[in-house]
Amino acid sequence: MNNIIEVKNLTKKFNGLTAVDDVSFEVKKGEIFGFLGPNGAGKSTTINMLSTILSPTEGEAFINKFNVLSQKDEVRKSIGLVFQDPSLDDRLTAEENLRFHAKLYGVPSNEFQKRKQEVLELVDLWDRRDDIVKNFSGGMKRRLEIARGLLHYPAVLFLDEPTIGLDPQTRAHLWDYILRLKREKEMTIFMTTHYMNEAEYCDRIAIIDHGKIVASGTPRELKKQVGGDIIRMSSAQKQKLKRELEERYKKEIKEEDGTLQLEVADGEKFLPRLFNELDTKIDSIELRKPTLDDVFLSLTGRKIREEEASSKDRMREHMRVRGGR
């Protein structure tokens, strides 16, 4: 058994309100596991229970085989945490922040000298180690938090909305670091996000809504549940094309907005075949693959609430500026 995280029937109630409702899942060693859902779905509450900040109302959870209720210190030593909101001391230098962490986690000082270089180089902050954190950009602060989370060699790294409040470019850049972590350190990563496109980087995801896991699997598997890829074509000889497609591929052809649509299992492989075989001339063609947005929509009947998220992001950004003191 090489499950780093095991969660069984985890439930958390706040004054009668159920934030996390009978949640069970496992995270295997070395994988990136994504917890996907809108704000308020129970993602952070789950992370807080797994990291011993909150006690579950019911159910149990094990990190690195340690019980989150009865073996708190062992659990804390087994996890690295990057919180949703910044948690650095911005009046200290990058290195001082790391040293503080190392001492609290009992990393011996000769070992610390070695590790600080290792983790700072991993996130490209080695040259900035003596700078006061206050002068760091949002992306750099996040990277430093990741480096700090790795310092005590945890069995699993928790990233709670790691890219929230960052601009798209910084966000993409941060993902390079997270993927490098998996590649070079074989790090197990448990992350939450409400950005559907980011969930694509995960090996496996669980979609959570109103405190319940509504689906889980690889992003590919989940998207398959929704259906296949959609190919949309237009042609001057539309009726002829429609007949030809129906005869040749024995598929249902839908007409929508003057275009023809068909659903296939593997769009990339199907397109070249289509080009080779078709006699009728086509004017334009579009391949659309289902996204996790479609998965969420089909599971819950709602779009993930992006607008709400962005206003929350703005507030966070505001707090960050205030935190800059």
Partner: protein, 260 residues
């Protein structure tokens, strides 16, 4: 071992933050000076004739030390509210360390900073006409530390109950003046109404002022006069301050656990 290391790490961070904050350093240096100049020059001229047979500056001096120890200690414990507001407290609270050690580290950090302030006042004493014999420097310092520790513990308790720096500042404002006035710093508490005496009995400042005054005036004033001004024996004062600190730090640990 990890327990001591945690206390040390938390304490060290408080001091690093203090040294980086130039405004705070300047105000630590400036505030005692201001106190001594204003109280020394102003009050001594009007009240110096003193009905209690003691030079008023000598009488006031322990109160001024207590006052500045209190304000610096309180102000230093605000760091816990900051840590909560700006997220750093989470980093501390999820670490595999004892909360007791965290509370001790925080309290000792504020104690150290407040004691630095008190030491400056001690060094300045001769310049404003306070006579300090070499022999009483050590007992004075011990009581400065005890008082600073007690007040820091109290500050930590309040700051672990507060959500924002604004509310912390407000509570401090409300607390500082009553604590100061009902501490015997300005007037002896031997002849006050019983309700005031009751308040003074739970005020840590009272015990700090009382002890430091006895130490300071011990070999300068007639014992009968000193007896009239004093409330408790010096060891009793020390015991109260220690007990008060223990209660406050335990309550702060309890508040940490409850809130986090």
């Amino acid at each position: 071992m990890q327990f001591i290391q945690t206390i040390y790490t938390i304490w060290q961070r408080e001091l690093i933050r203090y040294w980086r904050d130039k405004t705070r350093i300047i105000s630590t240096l400036f505030m005692p000076l201001m106190f001594l100049v204003i109280f020394g020059a102003g009050l001594s001229k009007t009240l110096a004739t003193g009905n209690f047979g003691v030079d008023f500056v000598q009488f006031m001096y322990p109160g001024i030390i207590a006052m500045s120890v209190m304000s610096v200690a309180f102000f230093s414990t605000i760091s816990t509210v900051w840590d909560r507001e700006f997220g750093f407290l989470k980093e501390i609270l999820v670490a595999p360390v004892s909360r007791v050690a965290v509370a001790f580290g925080k309290t000792l950090g504020a104690t150290t900073i407040a004691s630095i302030q008190a030491l400056i006042l001690l060094i300045l004493a001769p310049f404003i006409g306070v006579t300090i014999h070499f022999a009483i420097v050590l007992p004075l310092i011990i009581f400065m530390l005890l008082l600073a520790f007690a007040i820091s513990g109290m500050g930590l308790l309040i700051s672990s109950l507060m959500k924002t720096t604004e509310s912390f500042g407000l509570v401090m404002q409300v607390l500082i003046f009553p604590l100061f006035f009902v501490s015997g710093a300005f007037f002896p508490l031997t002849a006050v109404p019983s309700w005031m005496r009751a308040l003074a009995n739970v005020n840590p400042l009272t015990y700090g002022v009382d002890a430091m005054r006895q130490i300071l005036l011990g070999n300068q004033v007639d014992p009968t006069i000193l007896n009239n001004l004093s409330l408790h024996a010096i060891p009793i004062n020390a015991l109260f301050l220690l007990g008060f600190s223990a209660v406050m730090v335990s309550a702060a640990v309890w508040a940490f656990n409850k809130r986090a």
